[in-house]
């Protein structure tokens, strides 16, 4: 089985983001960037499938500028065999990302595609679902458990009501929840080894797809700040305040 993992480079989840002063977006220059957290779970799952002998080749793909090489190197340090960078100067919308991934998938012919359930920058939560529809493959979103046996795929999905268990088959597109696994840290020797693993670069303009934006961002603003409240001394004061000041109990 061949597994393809899609990876996005995003502002690190620990960074307190800043809105640009001209309200054109969020500052991404000179801030720490990392692998999108649920994409790390996707990488980890692919590496586990290889360790279990279920996958024989695991590859990662990212779309972005040259800097996105760093998240691909991270994925290879975690155990991915080789990577593909689709070079694009522009930020793509989920539909264009899915179309780009489809072209890579048509060429690479993986049996399973894994990715995070959402990117923590634009929070769209769309790409896996769109890709699954474009490929006409089964979709499994927000998975927290995966078992593959004899070409059958058993997944548990995290839904608002609890957990949903589904059975499907390969090939499939699965999007990963943070609870799927615990991503490993890349060891120093593996980081060194990853530098020698193959990283292919493809220019997005050679793929012949429309990647133009369909959505125009008019402005990006900071959310309204909550004003600081007060500290109460004890439970009695708290309950009195809630009853007679806030009037919520």
């Amino acid at each position: 089985m061949k597994v393809l993992v899609a990876v996005k480079r995003v502002v690190d989840y620990k960074v307190q983001i800043r809105v640009k002063s001209d309200n054109s977006g969020v500052e991404t220059q000179n801030v720490k960037m990392s692998v999108n957290p649920p994409d790390e779970n996707a990488i980890e799952e692919a590496v586990k499938l290889k360790e279990q002998g279920l996958a024989n080749e695991i590859i990662s793909v990212s779309i972005g500028d040259d800097k996105s090489q760093d998240v691909l190197r991270t994925s290879m340090a975690m155990g991915i065999d080789r990577s593909i960078l689709v070079k694009s100067q522009n930020t793509l919308e989920p539909l264009a990302v899915a179309k780009t991934l489809k072209i890579i998938i048509d060429k690479e012919k993986p049996d399973l595609v894994l990715m995070g359930k959402q990117a923590i920058d634009d929070d769209s939560n769309q790409t896996g679902q769109i890709l699954s529809a474009l490929l006409n493959w089964p979709q499994g979103c927000f998975i927290s458990n995966l078992k593959i046996e004899n070409n059958k795929v058993f997944i548990s999905r995290e839904i608002d009501e609890g957990i949903e268990n589904l059975e499907t088959s390969l090939p499939a597109v699965l999007t990963c929840d943070l609870r799927l696994n615990t991503p490993r840290f890349a060891s120093l020797p593996n980081i060194m080894k990853a530098k020698k693993k193959p990283l292919e670069t493809i220019d997005i303009d050679t793929l012949g797809i429309d990647t133009s934006s369909k959505i125009k961002t008019l402005k990006v603003i900071e959310p309204p700040k909550r004003k600081a409240g007060i500290m109460v001394n004890d439970v009695k004061e708290l309950v009195q305040k809630l009853k007679y000041e806030a009037k919520v109990i």
Binding site: L95, G162, L166, I215, L218, V220, E222
Partner: protein, 315 residues
């Protein structure tokens, strides 16, 4: 033009998120159609036609739609799309799972998780876990959007008499079969919709201690929530998680107990009207957004609060 709202339901009742989404649709059109895809939904169709804002209820009733597999429902929705300027679904796990597939079939870009509607083509949505707010505009042939339920009021469920139209099921070859659903039964209000939410974090230390929170929740007729740390530690099920990757809540009163206040948790609850934080760590970031903070050991504070509430109720 007309607006189509895709209903979230359990084949018996509409989820309240559907009512919030209908309110969002009201800002776009007076001609709102509600699409219900499900199995044995005659009664549901009957009760839905009384929603005043809805002009037409469109139902597709088929046994294969029982479990709302998106591979089956998305072609039925895209097939109706040409009649509408906008298609809306709640941005719950139901809508997130389904609507992007429809966008793929229609070759349009969906706008996720809108919290405001400026005009027919301009929408407001949070990015970076709500740490920035984006105003976006589109001129696509049709606008597909998921709607954050807590950002719109629930619409009235009565006063209307909509027409009901049956549409035929379109079968698709689907390789996915439903196995089971693990749903926790509770008499408490629904988390996304409760007037009061009592949430616990890692400070609760184990699942047994969550009983303390359940007692407090029952006193206040509140829903119970949890931080990701508490869910990851196995204290409580994932369906209780509040935050960027869990549920968004905006109750009148949110009581955070033993929750430090990670960015991703704040993203899910900072729109609450009144926030109370109880934590023994005075440095916990949750205090920066709390209206009322109590620096105290929760294992003492919660029983005391329950006692005080009992006293209030005696007066």
């Amino acid at each position: 033009m007309s607006v189509l709202v895709v209903a979230e339901h359990d084949n018996k009742n509409l989820k309240s998120s559907t009512l919030n989404t209908i309110s969002a649709a009201e800002k776009l059109s007076e001609d709102i159609h509600l699409l219900i895809l499900g199995n044995k939904i005659e009664d549901l169709a009957k009760s839905s036609k009384s929603i005043q804002l809805v002009k037409k209820v469109i139902i597709c009733d088929h046994e294969k739609l029982e479990n709302q597999i998106p591979e089956l429902s998305s072609p039925i929705i895209s097939n109706l799309a040409e009649n509408y300027s906008h298609i809306l679904a709640p941005s719950s796990t139901f809508g997130k799972n389904l609507l992007p597939r429809v966008s793929a079939l229609l070759d349009v870009t969906q706008i996720s998780d809108i919290i405001g509607i400026e005009s027919q083509d301009t929408f407001i949505r949070p990015i970076y876990a709500g740490n920035a707010i984006s105003y976006v505009q589109t001129d696509q042939k049709i606008n597909l959007m998921t709607v954050r339920p807590t950002s719109f009021e629930k619409c009235e469920e009565t006063g209307g008499d909509a027409a009901v139209e049956n549409i035929s099921f379109i079968d698709s070859e689907v390789k996915t079969t439903f196995v089971s659903r693990e749903v926790s039964k509770s008499d408490r209000p629904e988390l996304g919709n409760a007037r009061v939410v009592v949430s616990g974090g890692r400070g609760l230390e184990n699942s047994d201690n969550f009983k303390l929170l359940y007692d407090l929740a029952d006193k206040l007729n509140a829903a119970v929530g949890a931080s990701r740390a508490a869910v990851d530690s196995g204290y409580i099920g994932n369906e209780y998680q509040v935050g960027q990757t869990g549920k968004m809540v905006a109750p009148e009163l949110y009581i955070a107990v033993g929750i430090s206040g990670a960015i991703q948790h704040l993203a899910g609850m900072k729109e609450s009207k009144v926030i109370v934080a109880i934590n023994k760590d005075l440095e916990a970031p949750i205090f920066n957004i709390a209206d009322y903070g109590l620096s105290s050991d929760l294992f003492q504070a919660i029983p005391e609060i329950i006692k005080e509430l009992d006293l209030l109720n005696q007066i």
